[in-house]
Amino acid sequence: MSSSDKAAVGTSQAPAEDLVWRADVDRSCRVPVGFFFASAVFWLLVGTLLAVLAAKKMHTPEFLANWEFLTFGRIRPAHLNTTIFGWASMAGVGVLLWLEARLCRVRLPLGGLLVAGCTLWNVAVAGGTYEILAGRGTSVEWLEFPYFWSFFFAGVFGVVMVASIMMFSARRVSHIYVSQWYLFGSVLWFPFLYLMANTLIHPGALGGVVQAVANWWFAHNVLGLWFTPVGLATVYYLLPKLLGVPIHSYHLSILGFWTLALFYNWAGTHHLIGGPIPAWLVTVGIVGSMMMFIPVGTVAINHHMTMRGHFHRLLDSPTLRFTVFGAMSYTAVSVQGSLTSLRMVNEVGHFTHYTVAHAHLGVYAFFTMVMFGAIYYIAPRLFHREWASARFISLHFWTVAVGIALYWVGLTLGGWRQGLMMNDPDIPFLDTMAFTVPYLWSRTLAGVLMAVGHVVFAVLVWRMVFGPGGLRTGPTLLRPRVAAGGEGVDA
């Protein structure tokens, strides 16, 4: 028993009611949420390996070119789907369930079903990835898993939706905090979106440009109606809790949610600027994208003003570092996205590495960083352990932060120049391709940096879940208490 353990046991005051319900909620989440987190980290490693291989193939196409399953056309969608449906969605579901239970102040229901669902989800990601690598991907971007596997995801989403409704119905608080609005929105909207897109696209009901319309309506809304609400809900909960100050303007936070709900799902067709579809359809997407300045502005003001005067706390808390990095990236990617939807900008950036950089700014610099921060906050409360190494946490942060910054800067600059060159009929296409090679090397270097960070993170999570020793208390759990039954509960 460590000295801190002894200190915990020695603190024999009776726990307050708030400590008891929080410990109870965390206990109910331990297995299901822990399973989702562990699975997410596994798929993060798989997706990262595929990403680094794909990045290297962009500037060294002969690399591992003798195996069909390792060709770029298979590795790239395998990377996309393992990170989207494996890492990001599984981490998102875990965080969503924990946050909802905490905000509703009720135990997480359907624990057994959620564990079974997580198992099925893993099977579906593994099966779908195998099919892509075997050459049976659908070639529909963001929906490359064959149709069969979508039923697995839909089923698990259904369980998550039912669990969310049960918690919402049984909530022990009258006020619905802004994070709950975001979470409930994502839980209600995304399963419908996912089922509809799969049903429209995969059975062959759609073809040609109409398929592309449905495809990009779906793909953009994966960000807008799934990752964005979950990510922002997490920031709106963690930022005030970490700092110990309420959000700067609660009015703005509510306005931000409702304007996101009204505007975001119109924006997807801006991906088809220049395509052979009705001009009004694209224009509606552009208008929706520009209207997004309203919710993004509310979030940016709120995050910055809440942090003002507290930036020194970034030194103390890994969760705060990752969360603030993610929140700032949300503003950046949203502003960039709205501007990129304009025809005059899009005609340069489209079909270049600029778009790839933008996508990673959203899914990685925003959402993934927020998920890292959330897991750093939640896991000690689930497992009653401290993180094994503060140095490893710092190493994780700096490798991924520098990595994604390098990635975005390199591909944005290179991609924009690439677009300008491709629009110039006097420049041979091969010259344009040769020009991008140094920028593609920066992408590989960035990928390796992020891969190092992910391995470090995986080691930390492994030690958290399976590490030696019993309950420990310290700088994350802060103030240990002893429950009436003798079990330590964290504050």
């Binding site: 609005w181 509809m196 110990g244 103390d316 969760t319 906050y377 401290e386 208390t473 700088p475 504050a491």
Partner: protein, 76 residues
């Protein structure tokens, strides 16, 4: 067929919008748009009050630090 598909897609968009509007009406009717200052503080309580940070994983312990209990200083 194309008309049907476009109709379905925009129908879905309308469903999303109507869901949001229905939620907004419900929120107004149930007092969720009132007492915002109180709402902002609803995630705090007696054990995790306003003014108290809830994570200091990377902080080096300082005995003079008033924010942290003695257990934290020992366990950091």
């Amino acid at each position: 067929m194309v008309g049907l598909v476009i109709g379905l897609i925009w129908g879905a968009v309308a469903v999303f919008g109507l869901t949001a509007v229905a939620g907004l009406v419900w929120a107004v009717q149930h007092g969720q748009m009132e007492r915002f200052a109180e709402g902002a503080r609803s995630i705090f309580d007696d054990e995790e009050p306003v003014g108290e940070a809830t994570d200091a994983t990377l902080r080096r312990p300082r005995q003079s630090d008033p924010e942290m209990g003695p257990e934290h200083k020992e366990g950091a």
